[in-house]
Symmetry: C2
Subunit: 185 residues, 2 copies
DNA sequence: CCAGCTGTCTTGACACTGTCAAGTTCGAAT
DNA sequence: ATTCGAACTTGACAGTGTCAAGACAGCTGG
C-alpha cells in the first residue's frame, strides 16, 4: 500500500524511531541503520533528512527542549512555585528520558543548529522565570543554584544513583529535598 | 627494544590511552582500536585485558571513583566545610573530565563489576561524610540536596551551559551559589 | 638443561556501523 | 508533455567491536 518513495512524513517517523531506540539503549548505542529499519526505509534515508547521526540527535534534542519549555511554562503559570517547577523538571527527565539524555550532551549534537538554539533559548527563559530570577542578569546565583539542584537531582535519579524510595515518588522527593535545602524567599 | 609480547603494564597503558581518548572526544566516540594504536599494541589487545569496550570504560570509571573519593576525603579532612567539599566535587569534574564523563553513565559500564562497586561505595561514603549526613540513614534529604546541587553544577558546567564568569573561577562560583541557595546549619 | 604449561599478545575473520556517490522514482511546475 | 527537483534507494568504502585461532615468552617441575 505505502509507496516506497515519498513516505509522507518520514522526518517525523525517523525522529520517533530514534527516540524509541534511545529510550531502549541510550544515545551512544543508537544506530542510524537500526532507526531506518524501524521506520521501514533504506539505511541511507536518515542521512538525507538530517545530514548525519549528530543531525538526527540534534532534531531529537530540539524537540526535547521545546517540550521541556512547554512543561516548565505550564507549571509555572499554574502554580507560580519554584518547587513545583523543579518537580516538573524532574518529571520531564523521567517521562522523556530519551530526549533528556540527548539534550545536555553537546558532543553528540550540532550545537550551532538554529532550531536547537531557538528551543534551548525557550527552555532557558522558562527556567529563568521559574526560578524567579532577574531575566536581565547574566549571572544570578539563585538561578544557577536552583537549576543545578533540579538538574543534578534529575541526572542522578535517571542514572539510578538514588534509593528506591526516591524513585517511587520522585516529585514528592524533590519537593522535600528542595524544602530542606533551599533558602526561603 | 620493547618486545612485542609482554608489554609490562599494558593494562595501565590502555587505561591511560582510553582516558586521553575520552578527554579528546567524549566516551561515545571512544574506539578500542584507536586506544590500542595509541598504546602501540594490536587491535585486539584491549579485549584480552578488559573483555570488551564496557570493560575498559568500567576500569576507567573505577579509577575515577577512587580518585574522586580521595579528593573528597582530603578536602573534608582539611576543611570540615560542605561548601569546600562541593567545590572539590566541581574541581574534580573539571580536572578529571574524562573520568567524570564515564563515572555516571551506567549504560556504558558493567555496573556489577566488583572493583567499580567498591570504588563507588568509597565515593558515596566520602560524600555522605562531606554533607554531614547520618551515614546510617538511607534517605537523607539534606544529603540528597547537597549531592544534587554539586552534581548538577558540575554537569551543567562541563557541558558548557554556564556563562563565562562561572567557568573562569568555578570553585568560587560554586561557593557563592551554595551560600546563596543552601540553608544554614 | 629442557619439556610443558599458562598467560600475554597477534593475526585473521565476520557482521555491523556511518557516510558518500550514483541511480531511481515520483509530484509538481512550466 | 517535458523538465526539474526533492525524496528515497542502491552499492560501495573504510572503520568498528568481537571472536577464534595461533604465536610467543617466561615460569615451573623434572
Amino acid at each position: 500500500m505505502t509507496d516506497r518513495y515519498h513516505h509522507g512524513d518520514l522526518r517525523r517517523a525517523l525522529i520517533d524511531a530514534a527516540v524509541e531506540a534511545v529510550a531502549e539503549a541510550g544515545p551512544s548505542a543508537l544506530s542510524l541503520r537500526a532507526v531506518a529499519k524501524r521506520a521501514g526505509v533504506s539505511h541511507a534515508a536518515p542521512a538525507h533528512h538530517f545530514g548525519d547521526k549528530a543531525g538526527l540527535l540534534t532534531a531529537v534534542a530540539a524537540e526535547g527542549f521545546d517540550r521541556f519549555a512547554d512543561a516548565l511554562e505550564r507549571t509555572w503559570d499554574a502554580t507560580g512555585d519554584f518547587a513545583a517547577v523543579g518537580a516538573a523538571y524532574v518529571r520531564f527527565a523521567i517521562d522523556h528520558k530519551a530526549h533528556f539524555e540527548v539534550m545536555f550532551r553537546p558532543e553528540l549534537l550540532h550545537t550551532d543548529d538554529p532550531d536547537l538554539n531557538r528551543a534551548e533559548a525557550r527552555s532557558r527563559a522558562a527556567l529563568h522565570r521559574g526560578t524567579g530570577a532577574d531575566p536581565e542578569a547574566v549571572f544570578n546565583v539563585r538561578a544557577l543554584g536552583a537549576w543545578s539542584l533540579a538538574h543534578g537531582f534529575a541526572e542522578l535519579l535517571i542514572a539510578g544513583n538514588f534509593p528506591q524510595g526516591v524513585a517511587d515518588n520522585p516529585e514528592a522527593a524533590f519537593k522535600a529535598v528542595a524544602a530542606a535545602t533551599l533558602l526561603g524567599e
